[in-house]
């Protein structure tokens, strides 16, 4: 499995990534190349996914980050781990809360701007109203986790096949 991932990592940037990884060289592939992967290309959250799993938060992934990403998104990854990472992905401003602006950005990426601004506002209000338990008008991790635990298809949807 690691070999397959190494192959995929290498083909993103053959001039940067050496064939031999036994010395653990410190190579980072920039975000612009990683989002060209077919598994991520069509995903509206590809930028956020790459940023979340990269160590520097800017999207430049080392091979370890790369393996981390696919192992978290794979089928056998435990639910808690997926929930943690989903929360991080949807938290655009990285303040450990999903506030209204984060939700609006999520929704716009999801529908690619087909909803009117009023509809977007309505959906965000309703979503926060449904999931927010501690009444602070934003979703903390506990709220998010509670909502995800009720979702029947979260595990099967939050899964990238490689």
């Amino acid at each position: 499995m690691r070999q397959i991932l190494h192959g995929r990592y290498r083909e993103l940037a053959p001039h940067l990534v050496p064939l031999d990884y036994t010395n653990n060289p410190d190579i980072k592939v920039p975000m612009a190349l990683i989002v060209t992967m077919p598994e991520l290309k069509e995903n509206p959250f590809r930028d956020r996914i790459v940023e979340t799993f990269s160590e520097d938060g800017q999207g430049n992934m080392s091979f370890n980050d790369f393996v981390d990403m696919f192992s978290a998104l794979c089928e056998t990854s435990p639910r808690e781990l997926k929930t943690i990472y989903a929360f991080k992905i949807y938290d655009f401003n990285r303040d450990n809360f999903i506030c209204k602006e984060d939700l609006q950005k999520t929704l716009n990426k999801l529908t690619k701007g087909e909803l009117t601004p009023e509809e977007v506002r309505l959906v965000c209000d309703k979503a926060i109203e449904e999931a927010d338990l501690d009444a602070d008008n934003k979703l903390s991790f506990a709220d998010f986790e509670n909502m995800i635990s009720k979702a029947p298809d979260f595990l099967s949807n939050f899964h990238v096949r490689i």
């Binding site: 980050d65 435990p78 808690e80 529908t111 959906v123 009720k150 298809d153």
Partner: protein, 723 residues
């Protein structure tokens, strides 16, 4: 540094520092509570729990943590160095736990391999395309087309096929039951040469006349006509009630005491068949209800669920992603539309409200009128068909199939018209769906009831009393009325299958070919077909109800139905993959599973009423069948009862008496109260936990604010100490 210190050092600290990237990464959310509350059958999570309980630090909990890869590797190396120093029992325990886990996953894979049509169902649901992931890189484009072709039909369509598989298994097991207790003994006794006993009752020879075999020369195409309508060579065969004998075998050889009472076996098998089906349905309903309760009324949380879990991350190919996007957009639009309608309804003036409600009442009466008109048509067609059943040739075949044709036409046209009516009624979308479903259910099941009622009227001659005076039933038209009813049910089943196949070949494939190869405005508007889940499921329920009704009169009907449903599965699968486009409107599968099982139960009740009526009210035929010498079919049970040994009889009398049933009733009331109390307690504790969660969140925020307040003070405090 041991693992313990590492973990403690990097424990979660409130809201963290937003600017500090390091703490963002090295965070382990205290999800211990969620690990314990959460009951997913996830092997690594349960393993982590077990290891925690056993005391040894979990190697696999590392997987659950959010450390970067390098740190995890380092931690694992440290653990591996520590392993020899651990107690030997610890490592043996780990090995045992690992072995058990491996064994469980192997057994699961093995059983999954045997589950009927498992791979097809997964393909339809869109998860886990195992075969596709093994393809090498250069075949990638073909894989993507395959994915975009199969797409993700969603949970609703998958639930239809799961329901179909359940019915296939139910019918097959029922057939095994009937074969074991009725069919095989009958075959054995007939081959041994045991003749049926003639009726001992004091009736005229008119009632005993029964000649089902065709007289005279049989034309060759009669074979096919008989095959399709269950007459001729098929009538006097194991297929129908009339062929079975009322043989009661009692042998008392030296040593062995073998006795077999075929009429009793026939009746009791029918009763157990019904009970078995009821148990299966209720067990399945329980499972579905459990799922619905744990996901907690999914309709309530629709917005947040769609936004956060709507997108399928495994979606590949631009076509599939566009489709998924439109799907999400459509789902949001449906919910938004409901909100808009609610607001609109709240803002209506009194005059508008009155007109809307009166329009709704009017449309309701129109719909009821349409449905009643269908019922009258079915009744008329049944009477006409029964009167003209002896017309030979193709015309005769058409006449015998007339009730089935009218029912199918009605079930097709009336929902279409009701859809048009629903446009005028302007209910909110969810209510429209429910109303349409209810109308379709009423139409299908009650039309079957009307057919049976008309047949019953003719058999018991409600119109012309004189025909029934001699034999208590209409012996002139129905020498063996049970076989006639069985034939009707057989014809309905067969016609249903033929119509499905004909629709597939004559309508669905041509439609897809026309839409694909000839692009004009009309074809674009019509478009490719969508797989409509509710009407297909109602078709299955209707077919199963027909089988239940006819099982008493046509013992091989469950077998025929098994074959029919298997053929239907493959036909629907083919049409789904080749002719249908993935639906824009996905059907919500969790609540609908319960609804379909409830409709199936309603069909079961209808069949039960028919069975009870036939067994307890109508006189069995004198000329044929296992009950020819009984006043009522039910009478076999008291008669056999009297041959039971003394002890068993007393025991059964005691069970039926008041001394037993009243305490039993009281005890079951007590149990019911206990379960109701338990359920209400669980509900209250859920509400309490939810409130606690809220309070905990507020406490956390308060503490964080306090910490931030005290932070400016602490550097001054430190400086003070150093001084």
């Amino acid at each position: 540094m041991t693992i313990e210190q590492q973990r403690q050092g990097l424990a979660f600290s409130g809201s963290g520092h937003p600017t500090d990237q390091e703490s963002l990464r090295f965070r382990r959310v205290s999800s211990r509570m969620s690990t314990q509350i959460y009951h997913e059958p996830n092997s690594s999570t349960s393993l982590a729990q077990e290891e925690e309980q056993s005391g040894s630090e979990p190697t696999l909990e590392l997987r659950n943590t959010v450390f970067p890869m390098a740190l995890k590797k380092a931690a694992r190396q440290v653990q591996q160095m520590q392993v020899p120093a651990q107690f030997n029992g610890g490592s043996w325990k780990q090995k045992r736990i690992k072995f058990v886990r491996q064994f469980k996953s192997n057994v699961r894979e093995f059983l999954y391999f045997f589950s009927l049509w498992g791979k097809t169902l997964q393909k339809i649901g869109g998860r886990n395309l195992v075969y596709a992931s093994k393809q090498p890189q250069r075949l990638r484009p073909r894989w993507q087309t395959l994915l975009s072709l199969t797409g993700n039909f969603g949970g609703g369509v998958q639930s239809y096929f799961i329901f179909l598989r359940f019915l296939v298994i139910l019918n097959f097991v029922s057939f095994l039951l009937i074969a074991g207790f009725v069919l095989i003994p009958s075959i054995v006794f007939r081959s041994v040469g045991i003749k049926p006993e003639s009726s001992k009752a004091d009736v005229s020879s008119e009632c005993l006349k029964y000649d089902p075999n065709p007289q005279g020369l049989v034309v060759f195409y009669e074979f096919f006509l008989d095959l399709l309508s269950g007459t001729g060579f098929m009538e006097y065969s194991y297929l129908f009630y009339g062929y079975y004998n009322n043989s009661v075998i009692v042998t008392s050889l030296v040593g062995s005491h073998f006795s077999y009472n075929i009429p009793l076996a026939y009746l009791l098998t029918a009763v157990f068949y019904f009970a078995f089906c009821l148990i299966c349905i209720i067990v399945r309903m329980g499972k579905a209800a459990r799922v619905a309760v744990t996901t907690g009324g999914s309709d309530v949380r629709s917005y947040s669920m769609i936004v956060f879990t709507g997108w399928d991350y495994g979606c590949l190919g631009s076509k599939a992603t566009k489709l998924k996007q439109r799907n999400i957009y459509y789902r949001l639009q449906v919910d938004l539309e409901e909100e808009r309608l609610k607001k609109h309804a709240a803002s209506l003036t009194l005059c508008n409200k009155v007109t809307l409600h009166s329009l709704r009442v009017l449309m309701f009466f129109v719909a009821v009128g349409l449905i009643v008109a269908t019922f009258l048509a079915i009744a008329r067609a049944t009477t006409f068909s029964q009167e003209n059943s002896h017309v030979p040739g193709i015309l005769g075949l058409f006449y015998t199939y007339l009730p089935s044709i009218v029912i199918t036409l009605g079930n097709f046209l009336v929902p279409l018209l009701c859809d048009q009516i629903a446009l005028l009624e302007k209910y909110p979308p969810s209510a429209t769906v429910v109303v349409a479903l209810l109308r379709a259910v009423v139409l299908r099941l009650v039309s079957l009831g009307i057919l049976l009622f008309t047949l019953w009227k003719q058999i018991m001659c409600h119109d012309s009393r004189d025909k029934c005076n001699l034999c208590h039933y209409n012996h002139e038209d129905y020498q063996c009325w049970e076989t006639s009813v069985g034939q009707e049910m057989y014809k309905l089943t067969l016609f249903d299958l033929l119509v499905s196949i004909a629709l597939l070949v004559l309508v669905e494939f041509p439609r897809r070919m026309v839409v694909d190869h000839w692009s004009c405005k009309l074809t674009q508007w019509v478009g490719r077909q969508e797989f409509v889940v509710p009407s297909n499921v109602l078709g299955l329920v209707y077919g199963q109800t027909v089988v239940w009704t006819g099982a008493l009169f046509c013992p091989l009907l469950p077998l025929i139905n098994t074959v029919k449903f298997v053929i239907l599965f493959y036909c629907k699968k083919i049409t789904l993959f080749y002719n249908c486009r993935p639906a824009l409107r996905t059907f919500r599968s969790t609540s609908s599973a319960i609804f379909f099982l409830a409709v199936l139960l309603f069909g079961w009740i209808l069949a039960l009423v028919v069975m009870i009526y036939s067994v307890a009210v109508i006189h069995p035929s004198f000329a044929c069948g296992p009950f020819r010498s009984f006043f009522r079919m039910w009478k076999i049970v008291p008669e056999s009862f009297s041959t039971l040994p003394e002890g068993a009889r007393d025991f059964l009398f005691f069970i039926g008496s008041q001394a037993f049933s009243i305490p039993l009733f009281a005890i079951s009331c007590v149990f019911m109260c206990y379960f109701i109390a338990l359920a209400s307690i669980y509900g209250k504790s859920v509400a309490m936990l939810r409130a606690q969660l809220k309070l905990a969140g507020q406490d956390k925020q308060f503490l964080v604010k306090q910490i931030e307040k005290m932070k400016p003070l602490s550097p001054q405090h430190n400086e003070g100490e150093q001084d």
